[in-house]
C-alpha cells in the first residue's frame, strides 16, 4: 500500500513538473527537489527496521560493535551523498554533483584508515625483529 502511495506521489509530481516547467523552470526544480526529499525521509524511517535487524545479527553473532558502526556510517554517507548529488544533477549541475559524490567516496575511504592501520601494525608485529 505504501508503495502505491509513493509511486502515486512520484507520478503526480512528475506531471506537475512537466506542466510547470514551460512557464517557470525554477518552480519545477523546487517541486522535484521537495518530492525527492519527501520520499527520502519517508523511506529513511522504514530503513530503521533493517538497521535494527543488522544490530540484532551483530550482537548475536559476537561481531565487534565497531564493525557495525563503521558499516552503518558508510551506508549513511553513501545515501546522503547520492541524494544530494541527484538533486544537484536534476538542476543541471553535473560537475557539482560529481564533486559531491567524490566527497562521499573520500569520507568512506577515511573510514578505512583505522582498520588499515591496525592491520599494518599487526603485520609489522608478526615479522621478527631482526628481519
Amino acid at each position: 500500500m505504501e508503495m502505491i502511495q509513493i509511486v502515486g506521489l512520484g507520478l503526480m509530481a512528475t506531471v506537475l513538473i512537466l506542466v510547470v516547467r514551460e512557464q517557470k523552470p525554477m518552480f519545477a526544480f523546487l517541486l522535484a527537489a521537495f518530492t525527492g526529499l519527501f520520499i527520502f525521509l519517508y523511506v529513511i524511517g522504514k530503513i530503521e527496521i533493517v538497521i535494527s535487524t543488522l544490530e540484532d545479527l551483530a550482537s548475536r553473532s559476537g561481531i565487534p560493535s565497531i564493525y557495525l558502526k563503521t558499516v552503518l556510517k558508510i551506508i549513511g554517507i553513501a545515501y546522503i551523498a547520492e541524494f544530494g548529488a541527484q538533486i544537484v544533477r536534476d538542476a543541471g549541475q553535473e560537475s557539482i554533483a560529481s564533486k559531491i559524490e567524490f566527497a562521499g567516496k573520500v569520507f568512506i575511504l577515511v573510514m578505512a584508515v583505522p582498520i588499515i592501520s591496525v592491520i599494518v601494525e599487526t603485520v609489522i608485529g608478526l615479522l621478527p625483529d631482526g628481519g
Partner: protein, 251 residues
C-alpha cells in the same frame, strides 16, 4: 577446540552476511566499490582474528581507540570557535592578570608617595620604601590593604653626623637574625669540621658580616612611624625602619 572453531566460523559467516546486506543497501555502483573495500577489510580482520589474538589480545580495543581518535579529530577540526567555558576561563585569567598589574602599580605609587612625604616632612635620609599589599574580601570584593611597610634609610656613610655609632651595633633588627641563621647553615657546614678551634671566631665574623641591616635611630624611626600611621593608617607593629650597617664600622 571445536567450540572455538565454531565460534570463529560463526563470526566469519555473520560478517559476510553483513557485507551482503551492505551491498544491497548501497545506492549506486560508484559507492559500492569503496564500501566493498572497507567491508573486505572487516572480513579480513575477522578471518585473521585467531592470529591477531595469538599475537596481541586487545585488537578490538585498539580498533576502538583508532576510531574514537579519528572521529574526535574530525569533530574538533570542525569546531574551532571556543566554547563559552573557554571564553569564561580566559576572561578570568585576564582579569586576574589585570588585578595583579593594578596591585603592583598601586604598591609602586604608594611607595613613591610615602617616600616623598617622608623626605619632605621629617627630612630623614630615606633610601627606599617597601610596601606590601595584601588582599581582603570586603563585602564580596577583593580590596587591598597595606600589611607591612619597610623604610630603609641611607647608610651612615652617606649621611655624615646623623647617626651615632655607639647605639647602632646593639640594635639588631629581627630580619637580620633570620638571614644569619641560614647563612651559617650553608657557608659554615664545610668549615666547622676542618678546624673546630676557631669556631667561635668564625661565628663572630659571620655575625658581623651579616649584620647588613640594623634598626634606625629611635627618634627618626618614631617620627617616620607616626607619620606613616597618621597618613596611611598602618598598624605600628607592621612598620620597620632600618638602615644599612656602616661599612667602616664593621671592618
Amino acid at each position: 577446540m571445536v567450540a572455538w572453531l565454531s565460534d570463529w566460523l560463526r563470526d566469519i559467516i555473520a560478517v559476510i552476511l553483513l557485507a551482503v546486506i551492505v551491498e544491497l543497501l548501497l545506492p549506486n555502483k560508484a559507492m559500492q566499490r569503496y564500501a566493498r573495500l572497507v567491508v573486505g577489510l572487516f572480513i579480513l580482520l575477522t578471518i585473521l582474528s585467531p592470529i591477531l589474538k595469538l599475537i596481541q589480545s586487545d585488537i578490538g580495543t585498539k580498533l576502538d581507540e583508532g576510531m574514537d581518535e579519528w572521529s574526535r579529530s574530525a569533530t574538533t577540526k570542525e569546531v574551532q570557535m571556543p566554547g563559552l567555558d573557554q571564553i569564561r576561563r580566559d576572561a578570568e585569567r585576564l582579569s586576574e592578570k589585570r588585578e595583579l598589574e593594578a596591585a603592583k602599580l598601586t604598591e609602586r605609587t604608594l611607595e613613591d608617595s610615602i617616600k616623598s612625604e617622608l623626605t619632605e616632612r621629617t627630612k630623614a635620609p630615606v633610601d627606599s620604601v617597601d610596601a606590601v599589599l595584601k588582599w581582603a574580601a570586603v563585602s564580596g570584593r577583593q580590596t587591598p590593604y597595606i600589611s607591612e611597610v619597610t623604610v630603609t634609610l641611607k647608610s651612615a656613610d652617606n649621611q655624615a653626623g646623623l647617626v651615632r655609632e655607639g647605639t647602632q651595633v646593639e640594635d639588631v633588627s629581627p630580619v637580620a637574625v633570620d638571614i644569619e641563621i641560614e647563612r651559617i647553615d650553608e657557608g659554615e657546614a664545610g668549615a666547622i669540621p676542618a678546624e673546630s678551634g676557631t669556631d667561635s671566631e668564625n661565628v663572630q665574623k659571620q655575625e658581623r658580616d651579616d649584620e647588613k641591616w640594623i634598626g634606625a635611630e629611635p627618634a627618626t624611626a618614631a617620627a617616620i612611624s607616626t607619620l606613616i600611621i597618621q597618613g596611611w593608617g598602618v598598624d605600628a607593629n607592621h612598620i620597620v625602619v632600618r638602615q644599612p650597617v656602616e661599612q667602616s664600622n664593621s671592618k
